[in-house]
Symmetry: C2
């Protein structure tokens, strides 16, 4: 981040923005969209072991930032290809999770493999299918991965938001 940027309230707005002291460019910081999928295959779920920080070596869903010009469906399919060399058939949205602290909204799909086969992409050390009882809960990269897996397991018909605070504590989510 350039040191030329300062936080101040632009004229006509009601909150601080990041503004270049030199040229006046306003670098609006907007929440970012993460898209991903819980990919089920015969009762097992596909997880990727992260090759990159943060949480290198921990297990996660194939997921990443939505790019400009993509639909959420296209983004989720692209990420599954990039991280797990998997071709997905999407089956609807499983959850929409807000991680407000870091300005992130995650749109997670339920999916299955459209074609057999998967393999680690450059950002994954390993990709494999886990039976529910085999999932390494202590080595899951992010809480939202646990939320999505729980929603998948419950087979919820309607889309889930963040779990209630109580449920998070009780289920170790």
């Amino acid at each position: 981040m350039s040191t030329r940027f300062q936080r101040r309230i632009p004229e006509g707005e009601d909150r601080e923005r990041l503004i270049c002291g030199d040229c006046g460019f306003i670098a609006y910081e907007n929440p970012k969209i993460v898209v991903g999928a819980v990919v089920g295959e015969g009762g097992r779920v596909l997880l990727c072991r992260r090759a990159i920080e943060p949480r290198r070596g921990f297990w996660t869903l194939p997921a990443g930032y939505l790019e400009m010009g993509e639909t959420v469906e296209e983004g989720a399919a692209r990420e599954a290809w990039e991280e797990a060399r998997a071709k997905l058939a999407l089956e609807g949205i499983l959850g929409v999770y807000s991680i407000a602290r870091i300005g992130q909204v995650q749109v997670i799909f339920r999916a299955r493999l459209a074609e057999p086969g998967f393999a680690p992409g450059p950002e994954s050390l390993e990709v494999r299918l886990f039976e529910w009882g085999e999932i390494p809960w202590d080595e899951i990269a992010f809480p939202s991965v646990r939320w999505a897996l729980a929603a998948w397991r419950e087979g919820r018909a309607a889309v889930a938001g963040n779990p209630p605070e109580d449920a998070r504590g009780m289920a170790g989510l």
Copy 2:
């Protein structure tokens, strides 16, 4: 937009970004999240007539850009207050629509009024409840408003994505 910004591919990335030729600041352009709600009240739906461009004078849902530090639920409630002076009780996500051409993802909730009363906020000329048969379809601001109203009317249990291209044509969506 400052003329100092140029489009080029930063080292280690795979697509063009907007980079300041002066200081190297990369202004990542990410898709933006719009949050809003179809607010039902005794079979009627609440719409706002826009006081601002684009589409000034046309009818829309209470909706707007999610801000940093908000959950999608908080953002949808804030927008309903800002645009319609309405306090919402949210009832789950109705649809997640991607407007890829303009880099927008809309998360639209089903809601009802948590307290009686509503009134135009500064960005609305008028706010009112419409019976389904009264909705001014020719004066709706954006196609996604029609998609969300159609999903609300159908009372879909599961979350909707963009309607199929065919359905959009057939239903005039």
